[in-house]
């Protein structure tokens, strides 16, 4: 798989670092990792940068992850880019809601690199 440009969206900078490390531990080669602390910041990042993959928390201040996904449809740099949710909200209703908003995968915290890989690889393959 070619080097990826990933956008990690989480209000915790510690969690953003952990997600990045998990992607590397999962064997993904990352050419660039962009970070945002909420959905609004992520939309601003995408105005100036194209990415191959977005990993996003749900509960965040300013703009949460579900609203962020809804607004992605109007962003040129996000067209066809898979979004994987990573969140503590693990109920079936939350999963269904995220997938119906356009998420391609769902990872519950706490997670392992293998769980990240199991969600990310198929999402990237479907994009290709």
């Amino acid at each position: 798989m070619n080097s990826l440009r990933a956008l990690i969206v989480d209000d915790s900078s510690v969690m953003r670092k952990i997600v990045e490390r998990s992607l590397r531990q999962a064997g993904l080669e990352l050419a660039q990792v962009l970070e945002a602390g909420n959905g609004a910041e992520a939309l601003a990042v995408l105005q100036g940068s194209a990415v191959d993959l977005i990993l996003c928390d749900i509960n965040m201040p300013v703009m949460d992850g579900l609203e962020f996904i809804k607004q992605l449809s109007g962003v040129e740099n996000a067209k066809g880019v898979p979004v994987i949710m990573i969140t503590t909200e693990g109920s079936e209703a939350h999963v269904v809601q995220a997938l119906s908003c356009g998420a391609r995968g769902y990872i519950r915290k706490p997670f392992t690199p293998d769980q990240v890989k199991a969600q990310v690889i198929p999402a990237l393959a479907a994009k290709a």
Partner: protein, 159 residues
């Protein structure tokens, strides 16, 4: 007796075991650390207290207390960096740990996953403070050792 009190009254023992399991899983998966059970009663300094509010079908506060050295080591293990490289991330890391324990706990209790929301974490550093709780029942409490340092996880349930 309201719904929350009834839930707690009938499930106290099971929920305490679930709280311990939820905590152990977070430390196994995110910090690659096996928590152990203390022999006898361990005194826990509350230099760092991380709290997450729960509202909805279950109302209460989840908290994790430990001393500053344990908090720094948790952060180091979570980030995968040397202990001396840890500084400002401690509050963020401890908040996330508490958030994950609370989320993991509620996801293990049938019906709570959808019916209970979590607040953003709050982290208090320093030990010179008192808390006044509206909880009308004794907290569920689990004492564990993290790298031989005591920590306490508790869930105060409000009516």
């Amino acid at each position: 007796m309201n719904a929350t009190s009834a839930l707690l009254a009938t499930n106290r023992e099971r929920w305490t075991a679930t709280l311990e399991l939820a905590t152990r899983e977070v430390f196994q998966l995110m910090l690659a650390t096996e928590l152990t059970a203390p022999e006898g009663e361990a005194s826990v300094s509350q230099e760092v207290t991380s709290m997450v509010g729960m509202a909805g079908q279950l109302c209460g506060v989840m908290s994790i207390r430990c001393d500053g050295k344990a908090a720094a080591l948790m952060t180091s293990k979570m980030l995968g960096v040397e202990l001396d490289k840890v500084s400002t991330e401690i509050a963020d890391a401890l908040g996330e740990i508490c958030n994950m324990v609370a989320g993991n706990f509620k996801n293990k209790i049938t019906g709570l996953g959808e019916g209970c929301m979590l607040s953003p974490p709050t982290v208090i550093t320093g030990s010179d403070y008192q808390t006044y709780s509206l909880a009308d029942k004794p907290a569920l409490e689990v004492s564990l050792l993290f790298e031989n340092m005591p920590m306490t996880v508790s869930l105060e349930v409000h009516s």
